[in-house]
Amino acid sequence: MSPAQNTHPLEHIRNFAIIAHIDHGKSTLADRLIQTCGGLEEREMSEQVLDNMDIERERGITIKAQTVRLLYTAKDGIEYQLNLMDTPGHVDFSYEVSRSLASCEGSLLIVDASQGVEAQTLANVYMAMENDHEIVPVINKIDLPAADIDSAKEAIENVIGLPADEALPVSGKTGEEIDDLLEAIVKRLPCPTSQDLTAPTKALLVDSWYDSYLGVVILVRVIDGYLAKGQKIRFMGTKATRDIDRVGIFTPKKVMLDQLGPGEMGFITAGIKDISDTKVGDTLTDEKNMCDTPLEGFKPSIPMVFCSLFPIDNGEYEKLRDSLARLALNDSSLIYENENSQALGMGFRCGFLGLLHMEIIQERLEREFDLDLIPTAPSVVYHIHMNNGTMIELYNPVDMPDVVMINEIHEPWIKATILTPDEYLGGLLQLCQERRGEQLNLTYVGDRAMLEYRLPLNEVVFDFYDRLKSISRGYASFDYHVDDYKTEDLVRLSILVNGESIDALAMIVHRSQAERRGRQLCERLKDLIPRQMFKIAIQAAIGGKIIARESLSAMRKDVTAKCYGGDISRKKKLLDKQKKGKAKMRQYGNVDIPQSAFIAALRMGDE
C-alpha cells in the first residue's frame, strides 16, 4: 500500500501548544477554538472539554496534555489544519508541558489580563523558547472588569521580552476576538518544516495512555514519512516492533483515519497491552525502511517528593498494588516500591513530581479505587555520606542509619522564583527566611516584585505553597527547579506515643527547626488523638533525647443518654461503628490513633 498525500499540504498545517500559568484560561480558550472551528456542536460543548478525567474537571486543572485537530478556513479562503495541544499549567507537571512543546512549532502564551505575568508564565515561556517556538502572546479574560490590558502588555514586554504590540487581547469566555486569534495562528505561527512523505518514517512518541477499550493509545507527531494502518513499525528506543492496528485523530471526538502524514499529529494503537512497553520521547520508524538516527527524546522525569502509602486495612495491600499499577499506566512519573513498616504494615514508598502530584494520586486512589490510605509525611531524597566513604540515597526517614556512622547529610535545594504584588513582599521574605532560604535576587516588574531564592526542598514540601498563597491572598505565584545538594545539620525527629515511636511520623529536619516542629507536632497530636480509656503521653525526640512532651487525659464521658428497647440494635450498630472506626485506627501500645489524626498531623504546617 502506498501512502496517500496529506489532506493538507505542509504549508497549511499549524502545530501549536497553549501554555500559561494555571487558571489563566488555557482550557477555556481551547474550548472556544474547538467551538469556532466546529469541532463540536454547541450542544456537545461542556466546559473544558479537554479535561476529561474527573479529577481534572473537579479541580479545574489539566493534568495530562491533550491534543485536538481542527479545520479552519482562514480569511485567505484556504482551509488550514490546526493541531492544538492543551497543556497542564502547574509546576508539578512541567515535564508534561515540555514534551508537548517538543511536538509543536509554536505556542500561544496566555496571560490573564486581570493577573498579569506569573511565575509559571515565565517558566513556560522559557521552555517554549528552548524548543525554538514562535510565540504569540495572548491577553485573555478581557471581559473581566478587572482586566488591565495595558499592564499585561507592559509585563509581556518588560518581563518576558516579547513585543507588546504583538499581544492579542481576547476572551476565552465570551469568544471576543477569537477570529483574530485564529488568523494570527495561521499568519504568525510557522508550518512544520523539512518533512517528506517518502523519507523513512520518523515520528515522536509524545505520550501514551491506557484506554480500556482501545488498549494503549500512543500520541504521535510525524516528522518524516507516515504512519499507516497495517504498517509494521519499530520503537527505536525499546526496540520493539508492532503492527499498527488503528490510526486516528481527536477532533476532539475520536476519528479513525488510514494514515498520518508528515507534520501531522494524531494517535495510533498497535496491540500494546502494557504502557511500560512504550517510552515517552521514543522514536517510531518503519521496520522495513528505518531512519538512521532517532530523535533526541526527553530527559526522564525525576520524582522529587516521596511519601509512603499504607492501606488502613492490611488486607487491601494487593488492591493498593494493583491500583498503583493502574495509575502508573498513565503516569510515567509515578514510581513506587514495596515498603514494610513496623507499625503500618505493608505498603509502598512512592515518588512524585511534587506536592500537587502527590495529592492527586492519593485522591485518585481513594476515590477511583475506593482505598482508605494512611500517607506518611512527604519527604525529599537525602544523600547520606557515610564515614566509610559511601553514599546512601535516603528515601525514607525511617531508614536513616545510626548517626555515629554518618559523616554528612546533604539535602536538595531548589531555585525558586516568586512574583508578588509589592505589598506582600515583606511577608514572603519572612517566609523564605524562616524556611532557611538564601535570597539571590530581588527585582521589580512594574508594581510586582520578582524574588529569586534558594531554598531547601524539604522546607517547601511541607506547606510552603499554602503559606505563600495565604500570605499573599492568592496573588503571589511560585515556580521552582531543583538546583543542587548541599550539606546541612539535619537530625531525625521521632514522635513517641506512650513510649512507642510512630515510624509514620518520623521526619528529617534541620536542627534549628527540630524543637519547634516537635512541639507543634505534640500539641497537634494532643488535639487529634481522641481521648482514650487511659492517659496518654505524647513526646518528640531527637535520638534518645526528649525535646517536647504533652499528655492527654483519659476520657470521662461517653454514654448514650437515652437507650430504650428499640435502641439495642441501634446501639450495637454504634459500637460496631466504633469498632469499624477502630479498624481505621492504628494501635500504638494500647492507644488507638485514627487515620485522620495522621493525615492532619502530617499536613501540619507552621501556624
Binding site: R531, K562, G565, S569, K582
Partner: protein, 373 residues
C-alpha cells in the same frame, strides 16, 4: 409457660418534628384512626400466634406522640391485648404524652381506656429553650399538664433534656432546682444527643452552637447525680431516677434484657420463638407498614435469631446501664480486658454480678467497645 412479657406499641406521628429528634416520627395531615386500630390489632395477633406466650407485665405506648392517638384506639388495643394474653394484675400501662393543652384534655379518656401511667415530655422549664428545641408548648402549659395528670393517674414521669446548646452548669442547676418541685416518683434526665440526620446535627456541625460534651458533659452529669441524690432520687439507670418502687417496669424489661414484643412502624422486639431468642424489627414507613399488615398480617422487616454470644453482649450492653448491674453466671469475656477495666475502676465483679462503677457508667460506650475490642 408463663414468662413475663412486655408490649411496646409505636405511634409514629407528631404534630411537628423537633429539630433534635431522630425517632421514627412523621408529620401527617390525615391519619385514619380506625385503620390504625385494626392494623395494630392484626399485628398483635400475629405476634400472639408466632412468639411464645407469657404473662403481660407492662405495656408502653411510645412514639412519636401517642397522646395524639384517639382514646378509642388505645382502648381498642388494650381490650385486644386482654383478649390475647393473660395480663398481670397491676400491669404498668404507660403512654408518652406531649404537654400541650389539647393532649392534657384527653388524659381522663386515656385513664378510662386503661392507661395508668404517663410519661410527659417537658424537656425544659425555660420558654426560650423550649422554643429553641422546637417544642410547641410553654413551661406553664407543661406544669398545667402535670397537674392534670396528677389528678388522674397514680403514676407519672417527666422527661427533661439537659446539656443543651450553650447551656451553662449554673443555668442547669437553677432549672433542675425548679424542676425538683414538680418531679414526683420518677424522672428521666437525658443529656442532649446530637443525632445524625437531624437539623441540630447540621447546625452543630456548622458551628451554630456548641453542646457540652466530653469533660463538660461529665460535669453536667455529675452535678445532676449529686443534686438528685440529695433529693433522694438517685439514678437507677444512666438517665433514669426514681424513688424506690417507682422504677419503670417496662424500661426495666429492656435493661434486664427480658422479652418484649414491639408493634407499629419501626418498633423493635426481643422475643422467644421455639425456645430461641429473636430480634424483630418492623418497617419504619407508616404507609408500608399499613400495607404489609393488610397483606401479610404483620409489618416485620427482620426477625433474626440471636446467638448466645450476641445475647450476652446485648444483655451486658443494657444491664451495665443499671445500678444493679448484670447477673452473670458464666463469663465469656476477654479476661485480660475485663481485669484491666476492673483495675481502672470502671467495672466491679462480685460472685454473680458485674456492675459498672459511676466512672464506668459515665463512659459505658468506651468501656463496652474496649471490652469487645
Amino acid at each position: 409457660m408463663n414468662k413475663p412479657l412486655s408490649l411496646y406499641i409505636h405511634w409514629p406521628f407528631c404534630l411537628s418534628k423537633c429539630p433534635y429528634c431522630d425517632f421514627n416520627s412523621h408529620v401527617a395531615d390525615h391519619v385514619d384512626h380506625d385503620v390504625w386500630l385494626d392494623s395494630f390489632k392484626t399485628e398483635l395477633s400475629y405476634f400472639k400466634n408466632t412468639v411464645e406466650g407469657g404473662r403481660v407485665v407492662s405495656i408502653f405506648f411510645g412514639g412519636g406522640t401517642p397522646s395524639l392517638m384517639k382514646p378509642f384506639v388505645v382502648e381498642g388495643i388494650l381490650t385486644h391485648i386482654h383478649d390475647l394474653w393473660e395480663v398481670e394484675a397491676g400491669c404498668e400501662i404507660t403512654l408518652e404524652a406531649n404537654p400541650t393543652s389539647i393532649e392534657a384534655d384527653k388524659f381522663q379518656a386515656f385513664r378510662e381506656a386503661g392507661i395508668n401511667r404517663v410519661s410527659i415530655g417537658v424537656q425544659s422549664l425555660n420558654d426560650q429553650d423550649l422554643k429553641f428545641l422546637g417544642r410547641t408548648h410553654s413551661a406553664q402549659e407543661a406544669i398545667k399538664a402535670i397537674e392534670i395528670a396528677d389528678k388522674i393517674f397514680e403514676r407519672r414521669s417527666l422527661d427533661l433534656i439537659y446539656a443543651r446548646p450553650d447551656q451553662t452548669l449554673q443555668g442547669w442547676e437553677e432549672e433542675l432546682t425548679r424542676a425538683l418541685k414538680i418531679i414526683k416518683g420518677h424522672v428521666s434526665l437525658y443529656q442532649l444527643t446530637i443525632e445524625q440526620g437531624t437539623p441540630f446535627y447540621t447546625a452543630h456541625k456548622r458551628g451554630d452552637f456548641s453542646v457540652p460534651q466530653s469533660d463538660k458533659g461529665a460535669d453536667f452529669y455529675e452535678l445532676t447525680q449529686a443534686m438528685m441524690e440529695r433529693a433522694g432520687m438517685p439514678a437507677y439507670e444512666v438517665s433514669n431516677h426514681a424513688i424506690k418502687g417507682q422504677e419503670s417496669a417496662h424500661n426495666l424489661t429492656y435493661w434486664r434484657y427480658g422479652s418484649y414484643i414491639g408493634v407499629g412502624p419501626g418498633a423493635h422486639g426481643r422475643v422467644s420463638i421455639q425456645g430461641q431468642k429473636h430480634a424483630t424489627r418492623i418497617h419504619c414507613a407508616p404507609a408500608i407498614w399499613l400495607e404489609r399488615v393488610r397483606e401479610k398480617g404483620h409489618g416485620l422487616q427482620a426477625c433474626d435469631p440471636l446467638s448466645q454470644e450476641v445475647q450476652q453482649s446485648e444483655a451486658l450492653m443494657m444491664g451495665l446501664r443499671l445500678n444493679e448491674g448484670v447477673h452473670i453466671e458464666e463469663i465469656n469475656l476477654d479476661k485480660g480486658r475485663l481485669n484491666h477495666l476492673i483495675e481502672e475502676g470502671d467495672l466491679e465483679l462480685s460472685l454473680y454480678t458485674l456492675k459498672a462503677t459511676p466512672q464506668g457508667r459515665l463512659r459505658l460506650n468506651s468501656v463496652l467497645s474496649y471490652l469487645y475490642g
